[in-house]
């Protein structure tokens, strides 16, 4: 089990005049299931991109397990132990499912024997119920299967923190069940998961802690039930109240 210590310190990002992420700080220190919600345009994806190295923050620092990771290239961040999925699945289309799995496996552990990695990949794929597709090209996969493949790829990396960006969006309910199981399983393995989803049901059901963003700023962070009743959160979700 890997040590977990993700710490965001006043992370901000501007695009031109637009403050997409506004000095957000929070930290993750134990294997937790964290939900991250917020209305459209709240900056969730930007924050994800900042954490995973796709974007460089305009200011602020991010530490992962004692290593500073802000401004590092995505592959570096990934190797430091932070894995992510994409909102729009990014399967490597003209590679087989197995090859898709091997990319992170080999990148994570270049010295590993391919056979070992393949065995592990098969195990993960069967956990995700897509082991029958191992030798298919990922282009041939359905949208839900792609989501599963993305989740599977993450496991090959053995990260300590996983960010799941909309894992349920547009996924068949039957496959959603698989994703639930996946999340539980990964959590039990001692990894921290940051779950970004619009599926409130799932978020409330799964998360142990909820982070809410609005207009780029962190407006709530805490127990889901508390957060749910936070007036600021309700406003953010239901629109401006007459009185505010």
């Amino acid at each position: 089990m890997s040590e977990i210590n993700l710490e965001l310190n006043r992370i901000a990002k501007r695009f031109g005049g637009n403050q997409a992420v506004d000095h957000v700080s929070f930290s993750v220190t134990k294997p937790q299931l964290i939900g991250m919600i917020g209305p459209n345009g709240a900056g969730k994806t930007t924050l994800t991109n900042l954490m995973s190295g796709m974007l460089k923050p305009s200011s602020g620092t991010i530490y992962l397990n004692g290593r500073r990771i802000d401004g590092r290239a995505p592959y570096d961040v990934t190797r430091a132990g932070l894995g992510r999925t994409f909102q729009i699945t990014r399967a490597l289309n003209r590679m087989t499912v197995m090859e898709n799995m091997l990319v992170p496996g080999l990148a994570h552990d270049p010295g590993a024997r391919q056979a070992d990695l393949e065995a592990r990949a098969r195990q993960i794929l069967s956990l995700l119920t897509i082991d029958h597709l191992t030798n298919e090209f990922s282009r041939a996969l359905s949208g839900g299967q792609r989501k599963l493949l993305e989740l599977g790829r993450l496991l090959m990396l053995d990260p300590s923190v996983i960010i799941l960006d909309e894992p349920f969006a547009g996924v068949h309910p039957r496959l959603q069940e698989t994703i639930y199981n996946y999340i539980h399983r990964v959590h039990e393995d001692g990894k921290a998961i940051i779950l970004i989803s619009h599926n409130m049901g799932a978020v409330f059901e799964l998360s142990q802690r909820l982070i809410v963003l609005n207009f780029g700023a962190l407006i709530a962070d805490g127990d889901p039930q508390q957060v749910k009743n936070d007036p600021a959160v309700i406003d953010a979700y239901l629109g401006h109240d007459e009185d505010d």
Binding site: P39, N40, G41, S142, G143, G144, E166, F168, A169, G170, V171, H172, P173, S197, H198, N199, M200, G201, K228, Y237, L238, G239, H240, D241
Partner: protein, 233 residues
């Protein structure tokens, strides 16, 4: 009247975002579609407006099947669309942007001028800034340009996708008032997709709530007093 029957839509062949959606937008009414992010509200508008080809189902305009009609032909049928992303032509002047709204009747100069004039009356600030690049305008003004451009063609039905996303509060109110005016004074049929649930409920006549590509609730706006019930469960 715009009617949607049993619509299946998605970005991949086998992945439906909308799964058998039915709804009706009555003439002269403002129909709001609400729901959490990702349930397919915007997708619905895109499917109606020809950006996405529905996998199955029908879109009927006044009883006529318009499913899968190419986007640029829908204007002539009297449907207009205001997308969520600001869709002004940034490197054109405000006036030119409005002119582009008259694309379908580009040779009728008189009508165009009068329509532009109407828009200037509607949004006086646009008259002031008519020679500025639309890209240099504030977000709210850009939204005005867009709405004005959409109204150039006298549509019967307009599809509005989150018109106030990212706008300051005062401006949002302005936009909602405008939508109400369009309905009340110009008799437009409006299909509104929104996240500002409270505001939308205030102005809507009839409301659909979606969940995962299906209808969850529907009913007159007055039925939705208990917001918590509708959205947090």
């Amino acid at each position: 009247m715009l009617e949607i029957r049993d619509l299946y839509v998605g970005y991949y062949e086998d992945l439906h975002i909308l799964r058998g959606l039915d709804l009706k937008a009555e003439n002269g009414k403002l129909t709001a579609i609400l729901g959490a992010n990702g349930v397919g509200k915007s997708t619905l508008l895109k499917a109606v407006y020809g950006f996405l080809k529905p996998h199955s189902g029908q879109v009927l305009l006044n009883g006529r099947d318009v499913t899968g009609t190419a986007t640029h032909k829908l204007i002539d049928l009297g449907i207009s669309y205001i997308p969520q992303q600001p869709g002004v032509f940034k490197h054109m002047s405000v006036r030119e942007n409005l002119m582009m709204g008259a694309w379908t009747f580009q040779n009728d100069k008189k009508r165009m001028e009068s329509k532009i004039e109407e828009n200037y009356e509607r949004f006086p600030i646009l008259r002031e800034k008519q020679h500025d690049h639309a890209g240099s305008l504030s977000g709210g003004q850009q939204r005005m340009v867009e709405i004005g451009r959409t109204l150039m063609t006298d549509p019967e039905v307009i599809l509005v996708d989150e018109p106030t996303a990212g706008l300051a509060k005062l401006l949002s109110e302005e936009v909602y008032r405008m939508l109400v005016n369009l309905r009340d004074q110009e008799g437009l049929t409006i299909l509104l997709v929104d996240q500002e649930i409270r505001e939308a409920l205030k102005i809507a006549d009839y409301v659909y709530v979606l969940e995962l590509g299906r209808n969850k609730f529907e009913g007159p706006a007055s039925d939705f007093d208990d917001l918590e019930k509708a959205f947090w469960t």
